[in-house]
Symmetry: C2
Subunit: 362 residues, 2 copies
Amino acid sequence: MLERFKVPEQDQVKVSEDSLHKAVSAIFEKMGLTPEDATDGADMLVTADLRGIETHGVSNKMRDYVQQYSNGELNPRPNWRIERESPGTAVIDGDRGLGVILGPKAMRIAIDKARQVGIGIVTIHNSGHLGAVGQFAMQATKEDMVGMCATAIGSGILPTFGAEPKLGTNPISIAAPTKSEAPFLFDAATSAVAGNKIRLAERVGANLLPGWIAETDGTPIMEERPVPGRGQYHMLPIGGSRDQGSHKGYGVNMMVEIMATFLSGALPSMLNLSGLARHYFAAYYISAFTDLDTFKENMDQMLQTLRSTKPAPGHERVMYPGLSEYEEEQERHVSGIPLHKEVVEWFEGISGELSVPQLQII
Amino acid sequence: MLERFKVPEQDQVKVSEDSLHKAVSAIFEKMGLTPEDATDGADMLVTADLRGIETHGVSNKMRDYVQQYSNGELNPRPNWRIERESPGTAVIDGDRGLGVILGPKAMRIAIDKARQVGIGIVTIHNSGHLGAVGQFAMQATKEDMVGMCATAIGSGILPTFGAEPKLGTNPISIAAPTKSEAPFLFDAATSAVAGNKIRLAERVGANLLPGWIAETDGTPIMEERPVPGRGQYHMLPIGGSRDQGSHKGYGVNMMVEIMATFLSGALPSMLNLSGLARHYFAAYYISAFTDLDTFKENMDQMLQTLRSTKPAPGHERVMYPGLSEYEEEQERHVSGIPLHKEVVEWFEGISGELSVPQLQII
């Protein structure tokens, strides 16, 4: 993550992983989830915060989820069901369950199918927010598979040349196992910048960079600016302007829409204002394709080559997707998770309100 | 395609689709291909030129292919074989066959598997250039499937923060069928600009835009420049610089590498200097996921919404991926294919050399 998005030192409050997990799990149970689902959800969110993905961890999302359970948008006990199925595929109606909770179940089905026919694809429609898509991709690597996950949600992003937002932030991820290197994990929104990052920039008082947002008439803003007020800007696809390749970002964004939305028989958010999301999960059984050991050795060899690449002036080193998050996770296991003090204040309030144990500050 | 890449009016020579197809097919036969393979190859290349994808059509690639067949890099009669197979997957050793020729066979296998188990994935390694990946994705839409295709080749692109190129241009594509709209087709290199486009810019005397290439020390060039001499620049991933999102382009680039290279048990070009490529084909059987008619109607509805989006100042309209290429194809069916006069001169030379019929100028 760019420095500008990190919680400033003076606003940080450190909490232990264990305490955060207990607090999140307890809140989920109070929302009506089963203890098992509450634990699964806490696993997903706390892991995001451990890996430094504040945008999709507890800090940036838990408030939304609580609000959505409280106002009935989300169903804490969804009667999710497989609507259509083949040996390699399944489509799930999520019955307004939170994606964070349904995701591990869907990826499990994809993994089982992949073990049978080499590849498993599962889609979900009628579901809430999925959290950090990369974590579902990682679920597959633990079974020696390549995992992919994507989610289609929202309509706040401009198509190239457009003046009206139509596209979701539509993040996509892929993860692959290794032998001794940190696992490969790519996970990114197909907007120039994740929607959550704009809120995070606002919270930490950071500027937005050129090519990240557009004027309300659709003209890409090509200089640095503070976060404009709500409704005073539109978001752009990866690339920003056409000359910088926004048509490629637009295409990858639509790729996610086809995989998650159309292959679950649903409509994109631009045509369906429910606020719900569609998800896509894929598991590739590596042994169906090639020798698993060779695959992992090849991955190690490539990742070592990438991180030992000579850096350009002004940069310390070259990284590969997933490396810095892995390092962050090792560090935070030991030193705790830095939350913004506003997040901790929210936890104090909600814990009192719901009568669940308070977060423990380190 | 940006105006700067189009063949300037005064350098254009128009040829008929039919004549170009005959000439290409005849040249392929002289290279030792079977008549059937020669016809398949001509179909693929001429369709790229028809659709305005000059970078991957006859005009920009045929010379390379003839050279590679002539010097023995490519095998005109490859003994390709399925190395490993499961109900939903297959891995092919391409025996140094041209990807343009092997691709339709691989996508056919993926389509057959998808009809059986809902999804089919086929990878090829040890193969030559694939041409325009989007055309293989389109092959699936003709069978009422969603098609994806990607290819991993080369090592001329810098990883984010790197000073040494390691990544391929790794294009990716996805196509989906519609009811009455032009089919959706996204097809793009995961470099800021396709390698072939740099050669094309050189041929038409166009400048390269900010964020497209880097100095040889890895620093992204953030102003417009003429094409530097060979060896005087490096290429960048989609996004260009880190601030503009090159880490996302880097990630999508690596996604292609994992799908095409690692899932075919091969090594990326950075570790394997053979000059050969790895390919990935996926077919999703829509009826396994949802109702086919609904899928197509939903696609129409979304694509109509996108192209009727109000445009930003200075732009005539909003397009969706595949629309302008479809329109170009309709136009060129009637008025012929504009080739650069240098390409026509090359055809004249090679036709004489190989004793095949000359191109007919319109």
